[in-house]
Symmetry: C2
Subunit: 500 residues, 2 copies
């Protein structure tokens, strides 16, 4: 059937066209069915939406994606006919029904995710089914390979290493120390990181205080070829692009199917040709791993998946019960890291980073067993890591002369003091993160929380516990209100939980 | 934060607003989060979508639903702030994680479905999780009651009865016979039916050949109070409105979680105050029930659910391997029914309808056991059922003088003949349905397939097998092409299936 185009200047997120209900009946299609639209030799498949009033009979409503793909304008005549759902929808149904997917079936699903051929409903059903029914290791391998093959790939040759943290710990900006230490040791570490979604800062947000982080794949290659390393935002690089779309569905449901987490992490590493990877798995109340058993279980799967992908993986189970480092928020974290590179940073952040960097040096076979930490420490203390970091910052368009004291913090600040005497028992990651976000992080890079204390410190009334930084008084007051309500730092006491 | 309204003249299906990425970061929200929008004393919650280009910073893009709800115009200033997901999303997550939902949790989900508060992704996750994890009988009862309570309800007093067929059989328009027989017997039968989605005709489509079927609840009451019965489309009545929205998600995934099917059927019955219900469960290859075990299992659940809802249910497992009646398509089916009411219709359709009507009369206690079929037959043969049908047609605005020969059929026709000699072994429901749809049904009411033979008939080469009717030559040719390809009628042979 022929239709006149009516355009809407907005994205729909995927190819969608709107038909009048009567035309849909004529075509024999229903909401969420597909049609093929042809114009001037081009054909595309789009999902249909149906209206009774906004698109007249004989017209087809077209959003920006379809307009661009077909290169049509308001009033153009296009041919529309009913077409089948993509085969990948059958494979999603197979997963829903408890089947084990073959490699080519997973590949078809991932390809259609990359090509925006699946509706939100279909994508959500895929993620939900994967969460409930789980994945076999064969499926996870296929998922990982499909994520890799449907995106850009690079190979920097032997001795390419990487690190990953599954997250959940406030601060914890070890990447900004590990990457320069490793690169200074002569290894290649093309690190891509994420931005914050629910946290007050992602590694990419923190690095952005010091340099640009949005680069395409050619820039990534160029930077890494020059300085052996980078610390950039993964979102712009087009490595494993299906992964970002899957995460957009996991987010509102707040579920992360383990198979998809494994595939997601390892696909990013495989895409940049990593040979050795260490994975930081923080464990403890409030983190993503409730106990050691869960952490060990995940670790085993990472290691096995690594073997199947020809990547040597080592998992480090770390204490994630409290924040690592003093600053929480992009600028505060970036300052911690610069201080640490001058050997003056928060002890816990430096210790953890050196342990992880040491483990990675040993894993790569470049440093003898049990000597990794020493080598890493030497690189840091000698200033070689700082020097390397400045090279990376410069390669990414930042100022290589930057000093910790150059980093601007929010002009509005407020310090919360202890009102009793005792030992710090617990600093709650989630509460600290909420407060830092209320202060304006990550959008306002200068805002956040600075911790003056660590777990185990003995304090007296009036001692400073933490300082809030913000851009304006309104956000500062909101952060103060939240801090008073949440009480993120627990002093004294041995009651772990109250049940009733 | 304050925003200027930018309107889009199109429905989004639910309250959605579009924000610029930078504003979303300022608000601390992400795609699929919610915001509360306030204008002139009104507040509503909407899902957000994010754009980098089509909505400028400081503006908020608003679709028709939000425009109507808030009564805003282009350029108006509204207040937008981040707000939480509805609690029902937590309950959906609980179901995903394998939990058993409490009554109030199911009620919250269903209420939010009715109020359009859930995204496609959330709704799809709910349906998928229900399919995979299943529902306990307690959950199904709560689901049914929630569907009922969030819609309109009616009570026609004692002796209100109903029938339902779970579908899958072509033709099979027993409702148009059972309803007038039952109403002529003095019982009340407020029947609501569906339109076709994937079939060539729904009961509502067939009835629409004879009378109007789109009525609101007040008209429904009025019609039933006058003539004891109705046969109308359920979609316009607002009984169990959440159900229609759930079906819209099940459709693209082609899954129907059993718990939701049970709740869906029984909610419609409960909403109109039915006391006795018979359920037709066709079984056999190609139907929704592969074997008797599956059918019996479903039947038991219908009966138990009925008990919990104070509805007496009887399930009739019927042979669903081939079409019932001769006509497939709205007009052809309507003609079969009018002929049957004159005692001249297809034997299989009349027999099945009389058996079902008889069972319902017995179930209601108004007719002695084993006498139901006889009573039903008497009502039909005497012409009282036809008389009642004409009253119903008149009450629904149709022509009470209509005769079978008045019904118009597609002007283009083609008869397919047998090319060999033998007994008819099988007539395939799905193939016949595809062919009828290709001919134009259900949108073109006059098109479809008329079967000249039944399973068991002995035929010779050149005997007519079926006639195709269509509005135009193009559709007729498409139907002929499909009929030649699919071969819907199998003559002779005992091979049931070929495996390799």
């Amino acid at each position: 059937m022929k239709f006149r185009v009516k355009t809407y200047a907005i994205e729909a997120g995927r190819p969608i066209v709107v038909l009048n209900e009567e035309d849909a009946k004529d075509l024999g299609v229903y909401v969420s069915d597909r049609v093929e639209i042809s114009f001037d030799g081009h054909n595309i498949v789009a999902l249909i939406d149906i209206t009774t009033s906004f698109v007249d009979e004989g017209k087809v409503g077209i959003f920006q994606e379809v307009k661009d793909l077909l290169d049509v304008r308001e009033g153009d005549e296009v041919e529309v006919k009913a077409t089948k759902r993509p085969e990948s929808v059958d494979f999603i149904r197979k997963k829903i029904k408890g089947g084990i997917l073959h490699g080519h079936e997973i590949r078809a699903i991932i390809q259609d995710i990359v090509d925006n051929n699946l509706s939100d409903m279909e994508l959500s059903a895929f993620v939900t089914a994967g969460y409930i029914n789980g994945y076999t290791m064969d499926e996870i391998v296929a998922l990982t390979n499909s994520l890799v093959e449907t995106g850009q790939q690079i190979d920097f040759g032997d001795d390419t290493v990487d690190k990953h943290c599954i997250g959940g710990v406030a601060g914890n900006r070890t990447t900004l120390l590990i990457v320069p230490i490793i690169a200074a040791a002569g290894l290649t570490i093309p690190k891509t990181s994420s931005r914050a979604i629910t946290s007050p800062s992602g590694t990419a947000d923190t690095m952005e205080v010091l340099a640009n982080v949005e680069f395409g794949i050619d820039d990534l290659k160029d930077i890494v070829n020059r300085v052996n390393a980078c610390i950039i935002w993964g979102g712009a690089v087009n490595l494993a692009p299906a992964d970002d779309k899957i995460i957009q569905v996991e987010y509102p449901l707040a579920i992360d199917p383990q198979g998809q987490v494994l595939a997601s992490v390892m696909a990013k590493k495989k895409s940049v040709g990593s040979d050795y990877v260490i994975i930081d798995i923080p464990v403890g109340k409030g983190t993503k791993m409730v106990d050691n058993e869960a952490a060990n279980n995940l670790a085993k799967k990472f290691i096995e998946l690594g073997k199947r992908l020809d990547i040597e993986v080592e998992c480090l189970i770390t204490d994630g019960t409290s924040p690592i480092g003093s600053g929480i928020g992009p600028a505060l974290e970036a300052r911690d890291c610069l201080l640490a590179l001058e050997n003056k940073g928060p002890t816990d952040l430096m210790n953890k980073s050196l342990d992880l960097a040491g483990a990675l040096l040993e894993l790569s076979g470049n440093v003898q067993k049990d000597k990794g930490r020493k080598v890493a420490e030497k690189i840091l203390v000698s200033g070689r890591a700082r020097e390397k970091m400045m090279e990376i910052i410069e390669a990414q368009g930042g100022n290589p002369e930057i000093k910790p004291e150059d980093i601007k913090l929010g002009k509005k600040e407020h310090t919360v003091e202890a009102d009793c005497k005792g030992r710090i028992r617990h600093i709650d990651n989630k509460k600290i993160s909420y407060i830092a976000r209320a202060a304006g992080a990550p959008k306002d890079k200068t805002s956040g929380v600075y911790l003056h204390v660590n777990v185990g410190d003995f304090i007296n009334p009036g001692d400073s516990l933490f300082t809030l930084y913000s851009r304006n008084n309104r956000k500062l007051e909101e952060a103060i209100r939240l801090a008073n309500k949440l009480q993120p730092i627990r002093v004294g006491g041995v009651i772990l939980d109250t049940l009733r």
